[in-house]
Each structure stands twice: as structure tokens, then as C-alpha cells.
Point group: C2
DNA sequence: ATTATTCCTATAAATTTATGTTGAAATCCC
DNA sequence: GGGATTTCAACATAAATTTATAGGAATAAT
């Protein structure tokens, strides 16, 4: 249980792809390229990007020469926003965000566990921005290069 | 994304139900009663309890007068164990536990985010035992009672 | 024997994941 | 300006997985 759905995983990778292009000129990126680079069906990406557009995390430009760009700087978009756009909330169980959802809430002890865990996760995801992840990736890449150099 | 599956939610409630009976005599509990008390289909509970039995978190006693009991004291079973029994791992994405799962791992920056988040969650769930949750529930119940008293 | 229970297998329903088809808007090029 | 092209947009459908129900066999108690 407690797996990030493919929507969430693909959504983050989509956003990271847009973010990397944002820093190098911010030209619109077409989904076809993202689909190729990330090896995800373009049709599925089209569905995933809709809620991201609605939540104003990306902007779309139609027609030839169009595509998608981040609506804000990578440093100003955090993972929590992305996940929330893709499913309305990033709580581990629905009763945490919607107190009417579960009628056994008053006596439910499990609720407290899910609530605390959700809080923990949410705080973490709020702190991590796309820029952080890009920097992390850069570092990771460099490290693996160095390792390659010293090996003989 | 990142919802606890029904298997996980029902599984924890099932275990909590067994735990509450464990402390009051540890007689075998029959699934029919759990199903009624928790309002979950008995057929579905039967399926959910199988992996819990395999992982030796519960013991079964067949035949009339049989049922299920916790295999250890509630204070010695934590939430992480339960979730792992129910789906093999409590990591947020499969690449975290199975490094062969995802062939884009070497360059994937998102991976680090999921890994850290998984670690965070796992550490939390490992610290929470069934006994902790029972105590929490007791406290919760008492609090709501007090509140009822002062209201007039 | 009869009853109560877990155990095993099959299948139905619902949801999530993925693909296909067509339409609409913007741009490019002549 | 206008047709061809490129791209997003919207809707429909298929495949896979998760969630839930059903029927009956095996086991033990009375
Ligand atoms: S699971 Fe909803 S309140 Fe317990
Ligand atoms: S999601 Fe598997 S390694 Fe990035």
C-alpha cells in the first residue's frame, strides 16, 4: 500500500522535464518530446497535464511552435503542489482532508496514525522544490562521472 | 496519489480489533465479528488476513470455536510490519526497494525524493505499535466523553 | 451427525492506467 | 489571405489492476 500512483510519478517527471528546459531559455516544450525523453505515452501525458494546467502550474501555447512551459520558476513550485493538483490532496487517507468522508472517525484510533503520517509527508514534500530536485540530479550525475574516471 | 490502499486500511483495523481482544483475555476472535464491528465484508477480510498469517503476525485456529489471535503482544507489532506484510514493502515507489525495477534510476533525480520520503514514512510507521494506537484511542474516547460532560 | 469456523478458488464490479480518434486553435509558408 | 502543418483539447475505448462477492471444501468442536 501507500504507493505513489503512476499519475504522481509521471506528473513529477513531466514537471522536472519542463523545469530543466525552463532554466535553459524557457521555450515551450512539446509533449511529443517529453514523451520520447521520459518514455511515457504521449496520450497519457496529455491527460496528466490537464490538472496541472487547471492548477496554474503550467501554461499551454497552442498551434505550431507551441507547447507547454512552467507557469512559475522551478524554485517556486514544490512537490506537494504537484501531487495535490494531480489528485486533490496528498493525504494518505481521505478522512484526513475530508472529515465527512468516514463516519467512524470519532472512535477511530487508526485515523490519528494516518493523520500524523500524512502531515509528516506533506511537510517534506512542501519543502522540496523542482529546483532542489534539478540540483540533486546534477550532483548525482557528477558523482557517477567521477566514479567512472577513477575506475581503471 | 499516495493513498493507503483499502487493503492497508482494512488490514490495520483488523489488527487493531484483534489487539483490543488480545488485552482482554486473548480468546480467538472470529472474522464474522470483526466484519460486523468494523463494517467490512467478511469475504474480503478473509483475503486480507492471509498475508498477515503468512508473515506470522496472526495465528489461526480452525474449526468451531476457532478464530484468529495476534501472534505477539500488541506492543510488539508495529504498523510497518503490517503494511509490509500486506504488500511486500512500504516504500512509496517500487524502485526504492527493488533497484532493478526501474532502468532509468542512474539519472533519475525524482528517485531521491521518493527514497527520502519513503524512509521518513517507514521510520514513523516502525515506531508506532498496535499498543500505541490502542492507548491513543482510549485517550481520544475519554476526551470526547469529558467534552460531552461539560456541555449542558 | 451437526454446527461453526478457516481455507481455497472463481468471478464480478469498480477503478486506474493506457491507447485511439477526431476536433480546434495557432503558426508557418506560399 | 489561405491552405498546410503543428500543436493542444476533448471524448471515447481498451487493458490491467484493485476491490469485493460467492460457493463450497477442509477441519475441529459439541
Ligand atoms: S479510517 Fe477514516 S476515520 Fe478511521
Ligand atoms: S522513478 Fe524509478 S528511478 Fe526514477
Amino acid at each position: 500500500m501507500i504507493k505513489v500512483s503512476t499519475k504522481g510519478r509521471y506528473g513529477l517527471r513531466l514537471m522536472l522535464n519542463l523545469a530543466s528546459h525552463y532554466n535553459s531559455g524557457n521555450k515551450a516544450v512539446i509533449l511529443k518530446n517529453v514523451a520520447q525523453e521520459e518514455d511515457i505515452s504521449i496520450r497519457y501525458l496529455e491527460q496528466i497535464i490537464i490538472p496541472l494546467k487547471i492548477k496554474k502550474l503550467v501554461k499551454s501555447i497552442r498551434g505550431a511552435g507551441g507547447g507547454y512551459t512552467l507557469a512559475r520558476k522551478p524554485a517556486e513550485i514544490n512537490v506537494c503542489e504537484i501531487l495535490e493538483a494531480l489528485e486533490g490532496t496528498c493525504a494518505l487517507v481521505d478522512c484526513v482532508e475530508d472529515t465527512d468522508y468516514c463516519d467512524r472517525l470519532p472512535g477511530c484510533a487508526a485515523y490519528e496514525v494516518w493523520r500524523e503520517a500524512s502531515q509528516l509527508l506533506q511537510n517534506f514534500f512542501k519543502k522540496v522544490t523542482l529546483q532542489h530536485i534539478l540540483d540533486l540530479g546534477e550532483k548525482k550525475l557528477q558523482k557517477s562521472k567521477e566514479k567512472g574516471k577513477t575506475r581503471r
